[in-house]
């Protein structure tokens, strides 16, 4: 065996050992990753549940607001944003669950870690979407109860909440893009 063949053999052996080690890590560490992903999903589910209850309450409250109310146009705008973010929250929650379900079957620890990251960030998208829903419904409640002094605060809170939710979505897309980039090399 000449020297170059020997080096090539060592490299192949090293890669094989590293692969075997990674597989062992995936088996050992996946429980922890699953637990972390499930915790994020559980928190998001709770908030989505609160948002669902808020929407149900808003349906009742909405009928008490006079059609000729000064705030009716704004209420309609808020409800449009609530609707969009509700759909987003539900979709993201499903996505988070799907990513989490792939952790146990991942072939390496690194891939398992990436699925966990996708699951937690997607759970964050669901959570922030649900928070936007809650904030929008709070505005409807304030209008129905004629809490004029609360409206200014909730308007600003809604803007902040929408901006934060956009930030979460942007970062989710960035995580997806970076992970794709990693495996496309």
């Amino acid at each position: 065996m000449n020297r170059s063949s020997y080096i090539a053999l060592m490299v192949v052996a090293g890669l094989g050992f590293s692969g075997a080690l990674n597989s062992a890590c995936a088996v050992e560490g996946s429980d922890q990753l699953i637990a972390e992903a499930n915790k994020s999903i559980s928190i998001a589910e709770d908030t989505v549940g609160e948002a669902r209850a808020a929407i149900e309450a808003a349906k009742q409250i909405l009928s008490t607001i006079p059609a000729d109310s000064d705030q009716m146009v704004e209420v309609t705008e808020m409800l449009a944003k609530v609707k969009d973010n509700w759909a987003l929250a539900l979709e993201a929650l499903d996505g988070a669950k799907e990513s989490a379900s792939k952790i146990p079957t991942a072939s390496t620890a690194e891939i398992a870690g990436d699925y966990k990251l996708l699951a937690t960030v997607n759970a964050g998208v669901a959570l922030s979407g649900a928070e936007v829903v809650k904030t929008g419904v709070a505005f409807v409640e304030a209008v129905a109860a004629d809490k004029v002094e609360a409206l200014d605060i909730i308007r600003v809170a809604m803007q902040d909440s929408l901006a934060a939710s956009s930030q979460v979505q942007f970062n989710y897309e960035r995580v997806k893009s970076l992970i794709t980039q990693k495996y496309s090399k």
Binding site: R3, S4, I7, A8, E110, D114, L117, T120, V121, G124, V125, L127, S128, E131, V132, K134, T135, A138, F139, E141, A142, A145, K147, A150, I153, I154, A157, M158, D160, S161, A163, A164, S165, Q167, V168, N171, Y172, R174, V175, L178, I179, Q181, K182, K185
Partner: protein
């Protein structure tokens, strides 16, 4: 001939090391984006809590929620700056700077988490206090008891007291008793 083989192998090894290094940077940036998303989630939670407090009509709860929103926003700004620094360092191949920026990002996330649970950083309280002092100092003659905060409750946290002081300072300055105009008014004709 042998030299060429060694050169090829060395080149391949270098390429492999560079690829692994790039993958590590990308993995770190992905994790950092995840952290940034976490901080943004906390910002949405604090805003939602503020909206709920506004609906409750409880002034103390509103002030407390506003203080949390401000502190989380400050942490969000720090996190975004840390991420930018990390991205630049990763692109430049400066692993030490990238690691340092990653630490800053983790610290910003911790600050946001603390703020969300009501632990407002002392530096914020101090700057708020300085801000209210600046607002009260109108440049006119110093009057005893200038901008007294009748809503101050000594048993409340520093963050809440400072936020209330800032709100009251703004109100005071806008009133006929406060602001520079009062000190600059002409004396009575007598």
């Amino acid at each position: 001939m042998k030299n060429n083989q060694y050169r090829t192998i060395s080149l391949m090894a270098c390429v492999a090391v560079l690829l692994v290094g790039a993958q590590v940077s990308v993995a770190n940036l992905a994790a950092a984006s995840g952290l940034l998303a976490d901080v943004a989630v906390m910002a949405s939670q604090s805003s939602s809590a503020l909206a709920a407090a506004a609906n409750s009509g409880d002034v103390d709860a509103i002030v407390e929620a506003q203080a949390r929103v401000d502190a989380v926003d400050a942490a969000m700004t720090e996190a975004q700056e840390a991420y930018s620094a990390m991205e630049q360092a990763s692109n430049a191949g400066d692993e030490d700077a990238a690691a340092s920026a990653a630490d800053d990002l983790a610290a910003a996330k911790q600050k946001a988490s603390d703020a969300l649970s009501g632990i407002i950083p002392e530096t914020n309280s101090q700057s708020d206090a300085q801000g209210s002092q600046d607002q009260a100092d109108t440049g006119g003659p110093v009057r005893e008891g200038e901008a007294p905060n009748v809503f101050d409750q000594p048993w409340e946290t520093d963050g809440v007291r400072n936020a209330k002081q800032a709100l009251f300072g703004t109100f005071w300055n806008a009133s006929s008793q406060g602001g520079a105009s009062f000190g600059e008014r002409d004396a009575t004709p007598q």
